[in-house]
Point group: D2
Chain length 451, copies 4
């Protein structure tokens, strides 16, 4: 048998190609799905089925696209009504050469979530591994707040799925979840495998607690619920639009980039934070490459044509992939030589300075914004910083004071530079990036709402 | 400015990306046209126009496909009525940054053939190079027998185009033709550039001769006119079908390859001649990779689904490219591990032995077939060999004697193994490959027709 | 943390790059070790230590070469006296960012074998995985017959290592062995991971048995002990020669290949079995690419310069890698266009036919040789076949009958074509490849020795 | 025949692989010479000779390194005394299959400069192309000021070589020079081919003039003569040091980068100008990737170990290549995630702002430095700018005023950011990048020397 793990960095997403004897299944494919066909060819296997663990809320599924390319059948958990594919019900079996995938219904994260137990029958009918979707992660569990009003039911279902359906498979069973990097930002592991036994012992979310305690714990989780989740959920139910090949933005020189393109072009600058800081193109949204899928849906209108600013032309398709994964297909142009050409053309450009912030010693007349999540903020923040989550900035612009400089901080440059560009796009000109490590953080003071 | 030469081996075809200042033109694109977009990106240039030198008869143009991907406009010579694109007329100019392409009408090979003179205006308005299409090759000239009955007119036009339109541009002008490897097989050069002055002096086809002598010489050329030429010409006038991405054949194990696929699957074996000889899959057509575009149209029905046998999965897309270039889009499957898997599966397979042939000493009871063109045969062939051009074999099958072994010879293994497989497909079992170099050839004796 | 698995097909060997926080360890590197540096760069990690699980007997270690390139320190189990590197003793700890590798002494396969337990300390000090070297495989255990006369002691040590040192780590611990594809040829899995719990339950070698039964079972294993094992073991103790970059064989045309090169050139044909069958180059040894490392040491003199025949020039370095892994560094030349050019040049070449063999019905006057191992033969073979293990052919040549045709069979073409070429090199001309699946095998009759 | 052109961007250098019939010659190889072996393999040709057109002064030759890897012989013009290789004298002939390279002595740029005329003998013994080294460029001629005191002799020789040796070959002959982008910066072409006839007509340096006028014109050329030229010339005479594989710098996190490395580490920041501007690492030299070979020799001590700051790890080897080409082999480390990690680690970093400068309207209290060459400055510069060539900054530091801000301008960001970093390294803190196109330039006012 072979098992290939496909990591999609920008989504912290894992998908899998597993097969034997000339046939393969893909589990939870992303939308730019050429990689599965390449891997299947290298393995000499034909993709004959596509298995979804659940209806994703953070990206568009590639199952419909891949199905068209391969003629493979798609299967989803049977407890939601999909407009494409087939139901995978408890106990259903998929045989591929010498391996067998068995459906285990594990609702909670979504009502129709399923897991797939993997057995290599020449060794044993008992599973060696299980694909757990967003039911059980390495060091965490799936969120249960996707459907407002049903949080408690969902958390109870998740408890039952983990403790009564998955853990009984045995400590020795390897798990492959649909995401990596669970838990808080300070507690992530790039590891994409674990075992049921290891999680039973060391996953904080599963610490010896009864059903009620588990539900209460899940209810207390505070993570932003992006506005585009409902769109993703709806499209994944219907089947996302078919792309017929990836969008192919064309290279443009500065004059053409701003002129020849339709005036509504939304400019997304995918360069590194420091490059954006050194040469900010007025009006653009900064979205460093590895943050595109995570934040595009917060800031980019879904009906705008998109123009990219890139570090180099070799990165264009990486940026495009990260955009289509979350539903932005109208990527039409990119700026050749990016900010360099921009400056050489004599156009104005901005500079976003960086400033060190440390307990009490920084300049008085600034407001420090910690743009991380409330959950991260609660664990510590630079002295004097107030919390305004990055995704909430646009609607909170009127509250931003104009009589002081703004210093945005996120513990690294990524989210800070996004925040700085969002502020600049919205007319807040005096913005700096705050330098300073998480180690220097103190107990937080307040959230922006209270200023 | 930049100038990129794209060689398409299997077609002996040349196409070009030329541009400056962020814009580029593609000249005579092939149908698998992603390469032009990749090169343009690397050059930081947007493809804004697609220029055809003429209506190709040996492959399908990629201009319509590329136009859809880039929004670039297509231009053809104005003397034929195309159903897509725009006319390029004598003196029309295309400016791309600091370069200028000027249309020169050069009919002959086809009525609407044009050449494009290239000037880099910061040096001079006078051209540094000219794209000559099939009007003037390195060491040869375009064929003038595509339209039966008009050969003399066509040859006269070609003479005028070369001697009155191209050569006057000056000896110092570089030429870039649409094909390389002109002239007879023994006289080819892989060189894809030359100058008007060099060709004026050393191209045998242009040896000091007057218009009448030139016409007579062209009339005497004897090359096979493939049956699919008229199809290519017609489709190139209409605009070839749009592919929306390349065909993606799936890997199949032997059982599925022959069973699950529609029974009409036409099997094309693209492996090396020696691999086919060692393990011939009954019923398959041998077409070594670099001969696919040249011979597919002679043997494969245009309405059959195609299954490939390949050396390794990394070569599948190369084979697919070579097939779509000449209009075969229904490539559905390929055999995993090819003949190896076939043999291991216990299926029967054949062996095509090789035998040395040299003047008079070979076994008596065989018929040696020289499967090259009549033109090549006329220059010398193994002693005792008769000529039957490869492409003519299917319709001449009844004439093949069954009381003797057949030895096919082509000076190399490529065409011989194709011929051997065509004979085997048609029930002639006793076939061997003849080994022996061209050096050992003698004056030919007869063509097959007379046996 | 990150964990990259490097598969070396031709050796069925696994090596690993594991790290965190900008540092990485490599476990059991192969000799062509550029891949570890590439992976480390991609992970943004510096290789700071190189850990050997044991003194390999089937390939040369890359630890010394990699150490020179990276300045990383090498560690081996402390129970053998290496002439390079440092001892890794029970309980020694290697910390790399947030991961910890702990040495567990697990003698048996070799006296100094160690395993490395991997913990990700931000989750737990308890291990999530263990690198088991050749102590415990997926579905098997390491061989214990490397040091004649010490088989029983070695098997006893192996029992203690597995049952008393590894299994107590817990069912939930993932294992990463140094080889995949353990067990008999019919029972292999390409899987390169398992857990202690899964192996405890389903690994046939660990079936509930006491120490004595385990030792008896290991003593009964019958696998060929290649003659080059002692050389590998000795060189791995001393530290293999440093290559200073991979050998770079130059392309040669047939004339130069046989002429200009030193007359002692040993020709190795790495093409597919069917290509060798279709065009066998006299005097060459057939070694299909994926069998090179396994069989080179049986047939190639260690002091000969080597010339390659390859499918295409893109495969040259793959062949070179597979040769240097087992100590053949003098790869000087390769044949351009391989057998194709050979035939075109008019040189003689042979053909190795294939013939179907099935119970009793095949031609009488042949001897069928099953060239697999005695262990495989014992499980079933074509009717009438006698066993002569491939590696033993050279020394048994005088016993091969010349009055009958020889049909070599191995259940696939790989080993059969090697055997056929070895017979041809040694003057046995009438050789055919036997086609026929394992399914048609019957109880074996005899070994070659008895004919 | 085949002819491959290898462009080395950072050197504006051209080298060539040309061959036929299984053999190839390399002309003017660069030091990172793996590319020639790769191309030769793809062409199925063995490199059998290495031909130098002259002793290069701007980079180290790769001929000695390539000779060791291939066993090919090296040839130089016979008029200088090399310590390796063989003399190529007037009329010497190199035959490779069907092509012939003939030596033409063309002194001038250096005393031993030669050109190689290329004929494809199956067409004609007359050349189709000539490799002109630094004797004749596209749109320019080689410099004649390398050997002080011999400028007039050199210019006269160059005249004779071009007018009496090259041009007589005929207008139709293609030229392939050793550099592209000749002429002033505003007049460059990326074109790497031309013909003798085109240059005779349109190359400004060859405008109808007699020998004396040509000499006078060459004497008037004013280009900086880098301090490392004499070192390059000397090493190219002796044969540069052998590398035994490219340097392989290891990735380091910030702490290790500055700490664990020897304290004398010279930090070279190869990121884009805008990234350096956004996050300048104190003490580092900015050298954007494509400017490395051109400016490294002006600023980096030849005996320092080098640490790189890179945009991404995939660009490390590109930076290394550009450094070894000009003799910097001690590249030991690179900073992982570059400036990003630097900032996250809490280290201080700077910001180099950009400011628009246009005629008279900019801020009064600044000094605008035009850091281009005197030749470029003479053709126009921003109003008020004084000229201080980039390479001269270190020795002119004491003259830089400290009471005003410094704005560095070069018409693009590349040289400006290098200049800014050199000023910062030398204690001039108040530095900005001047934005503004060449189009806005006016007649220059003065050079720095006069302030």
């Amino acid at each position: 048998m072979f098992l290939e793990v496909v990591r999609s960095e920008s989504l912290s997403h894992l998908s899998f190609l597993v097969g034997d004897g000339g046939r393969a299944a893909v589990i939870d494919p992303r939308r730019d799905c050429g990689i599965y066909m390449d891997l299947a060819r290298r393995a000499g296997a034909r993709i004959t089925c596509i298995l979804e663990t659940h209806r994703h809320e953070d990206f568009l599924t590639g199952s419909k696209e891949l199905s068209l390319l391969t003629a493979a059948s798609v299967y989803h958990g049977g407890k939601s009504e999909f407009r494409f594919g087939n139901p995978a019900l408890e106990g259903d079996i998929f045989e591929l050469g010498g391996i067998r995938l068995t459906v285990i219904e594990t609702p909670g994260h979504t009502p129709e979530s399923v897991s797939y137990a993997l057995a290599e029958t020449r060794f044993s009918d008992s599973p060696i591994a299980v694909f757990t979707g967003d039911t059980l992660h390495v060091g965490g569990t799936g969120r249960t707040d996707l459907f407002p009003g049903r949080e408690h039911d969902a958390a109870g279902q998740l408890y039952d799925s983990i403790f009564n359906r998955l853990l009984p498979l045995g400590d020795h069973v390897v798990i492959y979840p649909a995401h990596y990097g669970a838990g808080s930002a300070d507690n992530t592991s790039g590891r994409c495998f674990s075992t049921l036994g290891f999680e039973r012992r060391y996953n904080n979310s599963l610490r010896p607690m009864n059903r009620d305690a588990f539900i209460a714990s899940k209810a207390g989780e505070r993570r932003p619920l992006p506005p585009f989740c409902s769109l993703m959920l709806r499209r994944n139910l219907e089947g996302p639009p078919i792309m017929n090949g990836m969008p192919q933005p064309q290279p443009y020189l500065p004059d053409d980039f701003t002129g020849a393109i339709s005036p509504g072009l939304f400019v997304v600058d995918t360069r590194s934070p420091e490059a954006v800081c050194g040469s900010y193109i007025p009006g653009s949204l900064a979205l460093p490459l590895d943050r595109i899928s995570e934040f595009a849906g917060w800031f980019i209108p879904y009906d705008s044509p998109i123009g990219l600013v890139v570090e180099s032309s070799s990165l264009v398709q990486s940026a495009v992939s990260r955009l289509v994964r979350v539903g932005f297909d109208a990527v039409q142009a990119y700026l050749v030589n990016s900010a360099y050409a921009w400056g050489v053309s004599g156009r104005s450009r901005g500079c976003i300075p960086a400033t060190r912030i440390s307990g009490g010693t920084h300049r008085r007349n600034v407001l420090i914004l910690d743009v991380r999540t409330p959950g991260e903020y609660a664990l510590g923040s630079p002295a004097g910083a107030v919390n305004l989550f990055l995704g909430d900035i646009p609607e909170r612009i009127p509250e931003i004071p104009r009589d002081r400089g703004i210093v945005v901080w996120s513990g690294n440059d990524d989210r800070a530079v996004i925040a700085a560009s969002v502020l600049r796009m919205n007319g807040v000109e005096s913005v700096e990036i705050g330098l300073g490590t998480r180690e220097s953080c103190v107990a937080p003071e307040c959230v922006m709402a209270t200023t």
